[in-house]
């Protein structure tokens, strides 16, 4: 077993997968906690899908899918943020933007014949295909996002929980919303490298959502969310090495089973309360 593990870790692509997965897992779990508090799950999901257009369109502009997706998600995030809570809660507006973006993404895909393999990688993630360059980009982007949160998280939590009171205390709701949406766009982009655009929910909402079901304070919730995210990514990648089944499959399985167990335990423990 240990022998196998050493064997797998001797491969660069496994190491790269673990590094990218770790970074995306941490960022997704932290940002996800705020997504859960803000009830912005659909917006997060939509940002990932909007990124599809960027990822497929990137090839036309000689950019990598990661760069393309990042640009378009950050732009979309800023727009969403600028419209503030109104848009983040407007299912119709988000849904319509989402469909047109996916439509354009589909068109880009047609321009690039023989791109189907690439499309699968974008949609479902290709953690073992992460390049050295992508690792550096991931590192820089995670550091940037987490650094911003180090400065901004206190205000963000306040604004997310009591927006009206925060506005009364002189905090700009739209500025906060824009900053958060950009961080969200970055974390969604990084998570999609691991689990793909379609399954971003798994890494960004999953761990935080599970943690929020039973964690009674902000910090315990955050710590639990990160722990769940990291365990899912690490175990998922290792299981993928052992079984040759996709890491994305294993990660979603782990998160889903944790969710089921949490639901069952919470319903039992909190019954009647």
């Amino acid at each position: 077993m240990i022998e196998h593990l050493n064997y797998f870790l001797s491969y660069d692509f496994v190491l790269n997968a673990l590094i990218a997965g770790t970074l995306a897992g941490i960022l997704g779990a932290v940002v996800g906690y705020f997504v859960v508090v803000r009830k912005a799950g659909f917006a997060a999901h939509a940002l990932a899908h909007i990124g599809f257009t960027g990822a497929t369109g990137a090839a036309l502009f000689a950019l990598s899918p990661l760069e393309g997706m990042l640009i378009i998600s950050v732009l979309a995030g800023m727009m969403m943020g600028a419209y503030g809570n109104r848009l983040q809660r407007s299912d119709l507006a988000i849904g319509m933007t989402l469909s047109i973006c996916l439509g354009i993404g589909m068109l880009f895909l047609t321009f690039y014949r023989g791109f189907a393999g690439h499309a699968t990688a974008i949609l479902f993630g290709d953690i073992f295909g992460v390049s050295h360059r992508q690792i550096i980009q991931t590192l820089v982007l995670s550091a940037l996002s987490l650094g911003t949160l180090l400065v901004f998280s206190r205000r963000l939590l306040f604004v997310s929980l009591q927006p009206d009171l925060a506005e009364a205390r002189g905090i700009s709701l739209s500025a906060s919303s824009i900053i958060f949406s950009v961080i969200l766009a970055i974390s969604v982009t990084l998570a999609s490298q691991v689990v793909g655009i379609l399954l971003v929910f798994t890494l960004v909402i999953g761990p935080a959502g599970i943690a929020s079901r039973f964690c009674r304070t902000f910090w315990s919730g955050l710590a639990t969310s990160v722990t769940i995210g990291l365990l899912a990514v690490w175990i998922g990648i290792l299981l993928a090495c052992f079984t040759n089944w996709p890491a994305t499959f294993w990660i979603t399985m782990i998160i889903f089973f944790l969710y089921l167990i949490t639901e069952a335990v919470c319903r039992y423990a909190f019954r009647g309360a």
């Binding site: 939590l157 009591q162 009364a168 929020s212 304070t217």
Partner: protein, 263 residues
């Protein structure tokens, strides 16, 4: 006595429509003011003016002698919107802690002093005994007291409460009013209490602001909640009927403009 809020000939125009005109109000520190009026009359607009979120289009306003918005550090505000955290296990204490010092940069880690402030606000709002419970399982009345605790953080000198009695049953309305009266007595804060019904507040408020028909009248409860004063304000005949210790405000045509009795 210094004035907490001073409005001189204030008017607000939003989207080409005059919301308020010629509002004059001088509120002293430590006063308990009840703010009433029909839906859409401009109660929330007036409150946003005091917070500096909506500018006056005419006249002037000052809060503790400063331009509105400058003094927001000493204003506690309880919004009408309710926090809903369905399915979340966050406790009452965690929610109030998250708001304490929320204006500061950095991470949401509270110092010992800040944690003390959270406990003080929880006790003052009457939520101390259930601070460890999960917020999502609380009753409407209990949740309202959490919003009050959040507004009390930072020892505000002016407390603006936007319809804290909405959708509470009479017993919880009573409790909320008693809480606020006690807070006024212990902290000396000025209270601006927005409500729909005058009855729950009649014993505790010092003066009344009544907004209707684009204008506002301020004075003692007896002065303002009278047929003469309200008829002038509405520009229509209004009857104030006192029966069984309750006040009913009724339009002369017969339809009740303000359902004064919720029991």
């Amino acid at each position: 006595m210094t004035s907490a809020i001073s409005i001189t000939n204030g008017g607000v125009r939003l989207g080409g429509r005059d919301i308020l005109q010629g509002v004059n109000a001088e509120i002293a520190t430590g006063e308990f003011i009840g703010l009433f009026g029909p839906n859409g009359a401009g109660k929330s607009t007036l409150m946003r003016c005091i917070l500096g979120l909506t500018p006056l289009s005419s006249g002037s306003i000052s809060v503790f002698g400063e331009a509105p918005g400058r003094a927001n550090g000493v204003i506690g505000y309880m919004p009408q919107s309710r926090t809903s955290l369905e399915g979340s296990a966050l406790t009452v204490r965690a929610l109030v802690s998250a708001v304490e010092g929320g204006n500061r940069w950095g991470i949401p880690w509270n110092s010992r002093a800040a944690r003390g402030e959270v406990e003080r606000a929880l006790e003052l709002a009457g939520a101390g005994e259930y601070a460890n419970r999960r917020f999502s399982v609380l009753s409407g009345g209990e949740k309202q007291r959490i919003a009050l605790a959040q507004a009390l953080l930072g020892k505000p000198r002016l407390l603006i409460l936007d319809e804290p009695l909405a959708s509470l049953d009479p017993r919880n309305q009573m409790r909320m009013v008693e809480n606020v009266a006690r807070i006024k007595a212990t902290t000396g804060a000025t209270i601006l209490f927005i409500a729909h019904d005058v009855n729950p507040l009649i014993k505790v408020m010092d003066r009344v602001i009544y907004i209707a028909g684009g204008g506002a009248a301020i004075g003692s409860p007896d002065e303002i909640i009278s047929s003469a004063a309200l008829s002038k304000l509405y520009g229509a005949e209004i009857n104030v009927v006192r029966a069984e210790g309750k006040i009913f405000i009724v339009a002369a045509e017969g339809n009740v403009t303000e359902a004064a009795h919720h029991d």
